[in-house]
Symmetry: C2
Subunit: 147 residues, 2 copies
DNA sequence: GTGTCACTTCAAGCCGACTTGAGGTCAACC
DNA sequence: GGTTGACCTCAAGTCGGCTTGAAGTGACAC
């Protein structure tokens, strides 16, 4: 009664059934049983999937996420890990912010060619100097009205 | 004289030679000739590699980046594309910011289990409601001292 | 009882961005 | 003139996160 068919879980979570099977295989979720061949899931799986999605958004791999659940199924999240990930996100955010501002500038800049725009050239130089490499960032000041 | 050996380009750009060959194959860079078998590069390739790195950081694929150079080798960057990418980055930054704050909160939160922390639960609920899915974001207010 | 249809398993394929490995070439040094 | 070592080509492998395809099963409708 309270159990959900895989199709229902797929519908409610927005994930394709193939992904759910894959997650089960990886040990990220567990089916509560079978009705014939068909997997049945406890409704709690939805929260768990949400948690998994959250972890993925934060940049954790599925393997890392598996480790975040105790054998009891309870999330057992290491606070140190969270702090580290937060710091990592912080760095990423900083890089992306600089880049976004630079892109906006380049888009708005009146110089006929990007190579003639001082801001763009500064950005390239920063990139060239190794301050920007993918992943790494581009140090540049805030977006301003004129070059 | 002015030409650079692939090893030199690798050293200066920080990219392995295999990557440079791969980039050449993809049409991202061009060697200016050969000395025997060995590729020679114009020093300008370094700026170009910097530009490529920049594009990668901004989230462009190599295929997209190829299109950003005219047949003349001059960067021919579509300003509309830049604006669009800036907006995309903006969204990403927003999502990551919320997530970072939430992670920090969860790390600092005194609740014995994360599931008992209201902020964390709110985050999960947000995730569950589809506001957060990977890529998508987690809407949640700023980090605060207490739950 | 037979058709349909959503599920099942298992293996293989896909994507992007490279890396790795085998086997070959070439310039320079001793 | 032989060894070394850095380059070369081309094909295949890697990684993560799934998706796809073929072939099978089982519950329910008619």
């Amino acid at each position: 009664m309270t159990n959900l068919d895989i199709a229902e879980v797929a519908r409610r979570s927005g994930l394709p059934a193939s992904t759910l099977r894959y997650y089960e295989e990886k040990g990220l979720i567990a089916s509560s049983g079978r009705a014939g061949l068909r997997r049945q899931f406890d409704p709690g799986v939805l929260q768990r999937l949400a948690l998994i999605a959250l972890g993925r958004t934060a940049g954790f791999s599925l393997d890392e996420i598996v480790l975040m659940f105790g054998p009891d199924g309870q999330p057992r999240i290491d606070r140190t890990m969270l702090t580290a990930k937060a710091a990592e996100l912080d760095t990423t955010i900083g890089r992306l912010t600089v880049l976004r501002d630079s892109l906006r500038h380049a888009a708005a800049c009146p110089a006929p060619s990007h190579l003639e725009c001082p801001t763009f050239r500064r950005l390239i130089r920063a990139a060239e100097s190794g301050t920007v490499d993918p992943p790494p960032p581009a140090p540049l000041r805030k977006h301003r009205q004129n070059c």
